[in-house]
């Protein structure tokens, strides 16, 4: 009984490590190679469009609403203390430090990550990856690499857009609806937001999340069992694993950046 239990724990542990090993090899094979900018550029552009540009709408709309809600809730609390002029600071710092990178990452995992996994998984199931290999074209470089870079490049930009639109949403509610003074809303914000501490860390966070999500997404697609069920599992795994990884990493990064 106990032996069986230990054995199964051990087996699962080994499988986990093997998975991590395969994922690392995948990333190594995709990224470590002689760069071919001429071939890579059009592929990257296409992926930037489908991974990044097509995600702009959902990111902007979500950012707007989050900023508006944040501002409204903040106003309700702050106005009791007569501190509603600090609303700009609260909205901007919350968005830049946490909500911008994290919510963008979660939306990105659901919108772009799942699409990447499903697309690559389906390419595997329909033998497109195999046939590419037989045509002496490395699918890691032709298929995985541009998608990976597209994710890593576009997500931090999306997170910046999210924060910017969110702050604008905050102004809509705070200044235009609730009547906080325009000048104090913005000047308090400007006085409190630091370039390195807040915007810089926000950017670092979103780059880390982007690498994590895109890596998980392309690996799950490439490693998927090539059947309809396998692809659906892989897609689910991408969204679940990427979301959990983002939330876990966010705590670690926050502790490192703002802990002391």
């Amino acid at each position: 009984m106990l032996i069986d239990f230990i054995a199964s724990v051990g087996r699962q542990g080994i499988e986990k490590f093997q998975t991590i090993g395969r994922a690392t090899l995948l990333l190594y094979g995709a990224l470590v190679s002689k760069p071919q900018p001429k071939k890579m550029f059009p592929l990257l552009m296409k992926q930037l469009y489908s991974v990044g540009v097509l995600s702009i709408a959902i990111i902007m709309v979500s950012g707007l609403f989050i900023g508006m809600v944040l501002s409204l809730q903040g106003y309700i609390v702050l106005v009791d203390f007569g501190a509603e002029t600090s609303l700009g600071q609260m909205v901007a710092l919350s968005l830049l430090r946490e909500l911008g990178p994290v919510v963008t990452a979660l939306l990105f995992a659901g919108r772009a990550g799942s699409a990447l996994t499903a697309e690559i998984g389906l390419m595997k199931a329909t033998e497109q990856l195999s046939s590419m290999e037989m045509m002496a074209v490395d699918p890691l470089r032709r298929v995985i690499a541009p998608r990976f870079w597209a994710g890593v490049i576009s997500m931090p930009l999306l997170a910046m857009m999210f924060s910017a639109v969110g702050i604008w949403g905050g102004q809509l509610v705070g200044v235009d609806w609730k009547g906080i003074d325009y000048g104090s809303f913005w000047s308090v914000m400007q006085a409190s937001v630091e370039l390195g501490e807040d915007i810089g860390n926000s950017f670092i966070k979103s780059v880390v999340f982007a690498i994590t999500i895109t890596w998980i997404a392309v690996f799950n697609g490439y490693d998927a069992v090539p059947t309809s069920e396998g692809i659906s599992r892989a897609t689910t795994r991408t969204v679940v694993n990427a979301s959990l990884a983002v939330l876990g990493l966010d705590f670690v990064l926050t502790a490192l950046m703002f802990g002391n």
Binding site: K39, T126, E127, Q128, S130, S131, E133, M134, M135, A136, V137, D138, R142
Partner: protein, 271 residues
Amino acid sequence: MESSETLVSIKNVSFSRGDRKIFDDVSLDVPRGKVTAIMGPSGIGKTTLLRLIGGQIDPDYGEIWFDQVNVPQLKRAQLYQIRKRMSMLFQSGALFTDMTVFDNVAFPLREHTDLPEDLLDTLVLLKLEAVGLRGAANLMPNELSGGMARRAALARAIALDPDLMMYDEPFVGQDPITMGVLVKLISSLNQALGITSVIVSHDVPEVMSIADKVYLLSGGKVIGSGTPDELRANTDERVRQFLDGDADGPVPFQYPAQALDQDLFAKKTSK
């Protein structure tokens, strides 16, 4: 010289997947410029054999010689060089679904050559003409019928004028007309371009009509080989069962299992 007449030579290859032994000491030769067919029941690893030749998987034991190089021992870069000289038609066609038929056929040319765009244009249209799909150049793969998709994939497979063409079940799921077209295409490509062809299939009449040499695989071993006529005259009962399509014989109708009464009653008695 054996090497000049034989393009692919498989020597004593064994391969297993998990506990299941797929090939057990298989040896066969693919003569240059001829059509060689590998036949056998479904699920005995005929596709695996093609993947072994293409170096996508490595055998447990044995050697796979392609034009005097041993494929499993090649380094990655050398393997990719060799693969430019071989081509494979996948069962599903495996066209890239995000490109037009034209771009699909142009894909290997664009990847491996630096041809100017107008020359590439001519080449691709000629390849499409050869399979009768010049008019479908601007269609997307999802607009093609199954037979057309396979022909488009064939045009892509011959784009780089390979020395070796491997066909994975080219006739499966095709209507009689398409089947006839494919048979004609395969043999005319073989004769006109001098391409060595390996066909993996279980469609007996079609294969027998175009093959110069046939290997019959079963249970991980070669059970019969020769020209189609020699094979028809073969009296081995395993060969006869496959060619005549008998339901039961040396290849059992039943998947291996314990005795029926045990399966049905053992559970009840054990309770």
